[in-house]
Assembly symmetry: C3
Homo-oligomer: 435 residues x 3
């Protein structure tokens, strides 16, 4: 199933204050043209700070980006911040209970308004000169303003924000890609049973990976390297991502177990009316996505050593713990796992051309009691270990692709989602560069 993307053109904003990226954009396009389909990107795509500026401009400032969930801003005045390169976004729940997003920059002298990643405010007060904004962004207080400055024009700059079944997305473009609704319609029925709006944050870990954001994403998009994740393989089937004919002989028994688990899971889902089929449109649309419910190994319930649940109290109105894993991938920066007992969200956020923040958040039912219904160490063990392992892989790859001896190599057949990610990236760069 695929859906046609579309988006209106918009005029370029002129002026010296906007850096001219014409030359690096042309360079990036030439590099993308050089790429052989099914093979990796040229090294400069990951290592050149100017090309990273193009990425920020054409991807991170134009596409929908996952930033967190409603569980992170439960009450009016609660906020979270994310940095997309040097652009900081303030996401907060306003006094009416709606979640909004603003540029995290004072309209006076430009001071960063909020420095913390999470917190709670009454009004938004700049620490420098105490300009004060309401939670709706309106400028409420700014003494000795000159006559030519109209307070009504000096509210916080707004950022587009959408809530998809409790997941929050922002877009810095004046006119965002218009297909998020379409994708939301597809994925919401999959997510709804996990009732993210009724969860709370059990844990959140920020990890800096020493690599370009695309290496972080490529690393996530395949399990060809999963031998390097012993903890994860307790519950993730080792043949994840392999087509039937690709399963090596040594994994035949594992795969047979997977097939049996899949049959069992699909029967359960059908009986409960839970959607499970693969829907995927990873490349052609701005909001590239892939959603599917898949079995887990062992007890089939969660990311634990035995595959058993990690939270006693299940999410929403679920009563069956053995629902495997709802996997949702969205371009350009996220992947989700929703089990019956908890949800894990991942946001990859570019810091510099060669460093990326991976923010991992574990959501459990809002009424689950820490120490009673779940143990934070146990809940987070698998993905803390897996993330650290992935960070090491990404760092090794960043060093290698920066080497003049690097030449792009072929993706294996198990890396089709890496190819899809890279193709999505190339398509967006070409589209946005042509505007």
């Amino acid at each position: 199933m695929t859906l046609a993307p579309s988006r209106p053109a918009r005029p370029a904003r002129p002026g010296a204050a906007v850096p001219d990226l014409t030359a690096p954009t042309a360079r990036l396009l030439a590099l993308l043209d050089e790429r052989r389909p099914g093979w990796g990107l040229p090294g400069a795509c990951y290592t050149d700070p100017e090309l990273h500026e193009v990425d920020l401009r054409l991807v991170w400032q134009r596409q929908w980006v996952f930033v967190g969930s409603v569980a992170e801003v439960p009450e009016p005045g609660d906020y979270l911040t994310v940095d997309l390169g040097s652009a900081s976004v303030l996401v907060l729940r306003d006094d009416d209970g709606d979640v909004r997003a603003f540029r995290n920059v004072c309209r006076h002298r430009g001071a960063r308004l909020v420095a913390e990643s999470h917190g709670s405010v009454g009004n938004i007060v700049c620490g420098y000169h105490r300009w004060t904004y309401g939670t709706d962004g309106a400028l409420l207080h700014a003494p000795q303003l000159p006559p030519e400055a109209d307070p009504a024009c000096l509210g916080l700059r707004t950022v587009h924000l959408r809530d998809v079944a409790g997941l929050l997305f922002v877009c810095l473009a004046p006119e965002p890609p218009d297909d998020l609704d379409t994708v939301a319609d597809v994925v919401t029925p999959y997510l709804e049973p996990h009732a993210i709006a009724r969860t709370k944050v059990a844990a959140q870990v920020d990890l800096v990976e020493r690599g370009n954001w695309k290496l972080t994403m490529e690393n996530n998009r395949e399990c060809y390297h999963c031998d390097g994740h012993p903890e994860l393989l307790c519950s993730l089937f080792p043949t994840w991502g392999l087509a039937e004919h690709q399963v090596p002989e040594r994994l035949r028994a594992d795969h047979d177990r997977y097939l049996r688990a899949e049959t069992d899971l699909l029967n359960r889902c059908d009986a409960m009316g839970l959607p499970h089929a693969l829907v995927e449109d990873l490349v052609r649309r701005p909001v590239g996505f892939r959603v599917q419910r898949e079995p887990l190994d062992g007890l089939g319930e969660s990311f634990s050593e035995t595959g058993g649940r990690l939270v006693r109290r299940l999410l929403g109105d679920l009563t069956d713990a053995k629902l495997g894993r709802l996997g949702l991938h969205l371009q350009p920066n996220t992947w989700f796992h929703a089990m019956a007992d908890h949800v894990v969200t991942f946001a990859a956020l570019p810091l510099t051309h060669d460093s990326t923040l991976v923010r991992t958040t574990w959501l459990v039912d809002a009424d689950a009691a820490e120490g009673v219904d779940y143990d934070v160490e146990e809940l987070t063990a698998t993905w803390r270990a897996t993330n650290e392992q992935d960070a090491a892989f990404v760092e090794l790859t960043q060093a290698g692709v920066a080497d003049p001896g690097y030449e792009p190599g072929p993706y294996s057949e198990a890396e089709d989602q890496v190819e899809a990610f890279v193709s999505w990236y190339a398509a967006r760069v070409r589209e946005e560069a042509a505007r």
Copy 2:
């Protein structure tokens, strides 16, 4: 009162060894043209390393810059060094007792001659190959020199230096702006009673602010943010910098107290023959300046919790401790406070495009005894706290102006000296770029 500036043209030095800044200079000029008067500078002026190179070339290598006072080099052989970006200047008192300035670079292989910020030497001996220079800069010793190298042409490169009532200024340009004398004539009568030549250094603190040097200066040029300086507000009137009609109702009582203190101060000054009137020419001339004697709050003597003096022995031949504060601002990098009991000097010195050294020096009478006449902790408490607070404001602002979501905002009416600083900066860049 304003005075007409002037300066002779000078030819550009050609050759590949001088980096070509034509393109970034054009970019900076375009950004300055985009600026709306009374509103802030575009973000790139603070964040772009190439534009910082233009600042170094057109401001820091062409204008008079404050580097310290004669109290820092009291004896022959005593020296101080300052870094203006990557340019290091060695200021030392020669064997005849005159203060001179040199490039802090050996003429042989280029080694940094002196690495410390202060010290004392007999001759200046390069640590690498022991080339030896007199305190007048002449090359005294360099063994095995080839015949084509004339020692008389290999003395240290000189830097223009001027002493204004004990304050030391250097200029790296071959032909410095010629209006320092004019400004010196104006400000010397204000400074002379504080007898800087008869002081000693009681304390000096180097603080690195994580922001562009212009943010450091803009921060200094207004007290619109002084609610963030509780220690300073013990002695600085909270209505500092406000015109009569700008005083908000909540500060009316404070302002009335200020007006009474001002009348008292001016009467005292007139009786003693001390100049006090505001003279200001901040924008049009290379040596933009502002000088005025103003009352302090509380006891009206010094920057203490009560406004009382911090040094028992007064400066020079002063006998009245209640002289408020002589405030002197000079573009591009300094501000001074001279009280009856001590002087504080501030030099802002650019390290990189996003970091600035603020060197604060407390001067007391040369005969004042530490522990008897003053306590260093008490003497320095107000400005150490205030500087740390300002460093935090500057860092927040650097983060915000680097954000693509930043747009310049309007200066309040209390920020007219910020507007003056920015206008001075734009005028100098335009003037020097046109040479």
Copy 3:
């Protein structure tokens, strides 16, 4: 004695994936043209990151570079790695006992294969997806490879490697300079008596110098600064590098002692048939070199406080400990000292435009027993101290040449090898830029 260099032309490799260095190359050529013979290089040659990229391209990726000795990879599977800027080279002894060199980059996704500086492997297994290569570089294992990817074309990229009397050199160019054989023929008879192939590594120290690689080399090429090396001067004559007429009066007695020691050494060498005469061709050929056997001061045997030997067991079949020092300089990155009791090798390896790794290795007879025949602290004391002193000199010089007040100065007559190094560098840049 000089030998004519030659090298075939080779076509440039086009495409956006190779950064375009046309403009910085032109800039570097202009700077080299500005240089006055016998005077230093303009500052930008040491400080500009873009010009450093040109150095990497035209020097480090085109010339023969010393990387270590056979003693560092004694057994099949033993490897060492070196970084030439961002290019990592893996040098290992294959299963047949031959030493080979490869790009240290996986052919699949580009991960760095080996992160350590030394180690031992059976096969070379990439840590990311377990692609496996033999010690001959052939791809042995890569599951789920797509049909269009031919494993035979996915072996490790080879790097040219040569063994000269046990010293290992690599060249990243497709067609290396062809004069290494010629130089090897000259220097091998000098090196052979020290039997490097029969040594082992007694110690290795990696030191990062905070300066451009050329400053590291220039520092090495003269002893005009040796007053700064008190430990070294115990065994190195203080008139090293001076012509007869350059010896200053204060060193006359030292020089007479040197002349007597030299006569004694040459007589011994002649009696043993050891070559000792100076052969030098430092500038004109790609593999610029200088070789000579010279006396040491004191007991004349080794780099110790007394000049006495540091290792009881002598190298190879040598029986006379008093052989002074065989000095071998090779452009662009190395110098060697071979005594009767041990050999010290030095590799200067560029990390960034302003930092350089100096790797120092002490080789002793393979059968010498630590703690019995030698003490590691004593063996390494002189050069550890000397290297630290040189690192400080280099750091001071990097700061100074980055100063806009720097102007190139004249080399003294004692710095003729610095002039030779700089001339060699300029000649190579011009040659390679013209290809």
